[in-house]
Symmetry: C2
Subunit: 273 residues, 2 copies
């Protein structure tokens, strides 16, 4: 049976996260169900990491051993035909010897997208064409203050304040880059609908559970003037999970990319990825 590595995208809105749980829809469950339909076999799909309920991915990496005698391109197409529209197998490749999507990963990159409205003071509103993949903020945050605070978190730290480690692991992680930027929309948004897109990009060797959303929420607390940067530093140093600012909701978060230092060209031969 060939062992295959795959690059996966999904709209996580309607899934209870990546990892299989009984009785609820998960991305891993949908991938395994479609593969069972296709091959008749119960194949275990492993991922680079779990994503929470409602979190999206453009670049989740998986591996699976499946009884398949045709080409990987044929497997990709047949698999996609049996998956819900919200999940896409972008490309497949033969997995290198000893490759594991989680344990071989050297770096993960997430993005959190927010919109700052052109008006203020109407915090609790929904925005039907925006909410699925972004958080609309109550007002424009201070980008410089957030990036100043972000620099305090870059590097190797014990991030116990911001997330939970899998059993048997410690809570030390290395954040490689962390910054907010305003993304220009050269298309004017009519009638002052939310108008400035502010995006947080974070890369780390690995993320604790909830870490991405807690870090994003804590930086935003600084940007909105609810926290000073030194309160963020104190919270980090306290290593106390009760001291994180509230996590941002999952809708704005996308797992963009997983990197494998040992296999830098894992999917690069696949032009259609």
């Amino acid at each position: 049976m060939p062992r295959v590595a795959g690059l996966i995208a999904y709209d996580g809105t309607d899934f209870c996260g990546f990892q299989v749980q009984s009785e609820v829809p998960t991305v891993q469950g949908a991938l395994e169900d479609a593969l069972k339909e296709l091959t008749g076999a119960n194949c275990r799909v492993s991922g680079s990491g779990r994503t929470d309920t409602g979190v999206h991915a453009r670049g989740q990496v998986i591996a699976v051993e499946a009884p398949w005698r045709h080409s990987l391109e044929a497997l990709r197409q047949a698999w996609n035909q049996r998956l819900p529209d919200s999940i896409l197998v972008r490309c497949l490749t033969e997995a290198p010897q000893d490759f594991h999507p989680r344990f071989s990963a050297s770096e993960r990159t997430y993005r959190y997208t927010t919109w700052a409205p052109a008006f203020e003071g109407d915090g609790g509103r929904r925005f039907p064409l925006v909410d699925r993949f972004a958080l609309v903020l109550p007002k424009r945050p201070d980008l410089e203050a957030m990036n100043g605070a972000a620099r305090l978190l870059i590097g190797t730290h014990d991030f116990a304040t911001f997330g939970q480690a899998p059993q048997g692991e410690n809570t030390v992680r290395r954040i490689v880059s962390l910054f907010w930027e305003q993304v220009e929309e050269s298309l004017p948004v009519l009638d002052q609908y939310p108008s400035e897109r502010l995006v947080l990009t974070f890369s780390a060797n690995a993320f604790l559970r909830r870490m991405a959303r807690n870090v994003a929420g804590s930086l935003l607390a600084v940007g909105l003037g609810r926290w000073q940067a030194d309160e963020l530093a104190a919270a980090l140093n306290a290593k106390d999970r009760s001291l994180s600012a509230p996590p941002l909701p999952p809708n704005g978060l996308v797992l963009e990319r997983v990197q494998y230092a040992e296999y830098p060209d894992l999917f690069s031969a696949h032009i259609s990825c």
Copy 2:
């Protein structure tokens, strides 16, 4: 009973269009149901026009007469609390004497969003984080050719080739502006996911049924080299609905704005619109 005009946004994915039909979910139906829950009365909500199944709106305009004794801001909030997340009442105002959202409208503006992928030759793919509000094209179309063809349609013409008139109306409409543009995304899209956003903006005094999607499909046929511009002109002149290129699917289409020449400041006093 006060007569109220409203500005509405919705994600049309899960609705069978704006206009009420029995047994299927519609935007108008959801607005009326929520209002009935709120006031106990059967109120008829009229709109500026029907949108097709799956078409979205940022700026649909409605009017309704409802038994309501409190402020319009209180009505807006209470109504929004009872609506599904996919529909938002952006703002409400007292309707001017003789105002009708459809018959008073002088101009409608739609946008159709497409993405040209960085690669070619994999046309039938789904893109989970893109598909809801845009069409992914099989390859990059020729923008200049599309805008050359678009100029042939601007002005007052009989658009019978491209759509159906409501009973008792003719098929003459006036297109005020019609152009494709590339919208820069200064945020690089990782791993060559669809990478150039190409948007068609069209304004007309009114649209025939299906006209926006048929015109978009016909211009795209020119852009992809399937049609020459003079074939588009011939199709227009033939006034024969069988001669339109296939309509584009609804997911990329958004009703952005409805203008009322007689009431230019209808919602402008509402900072939170």
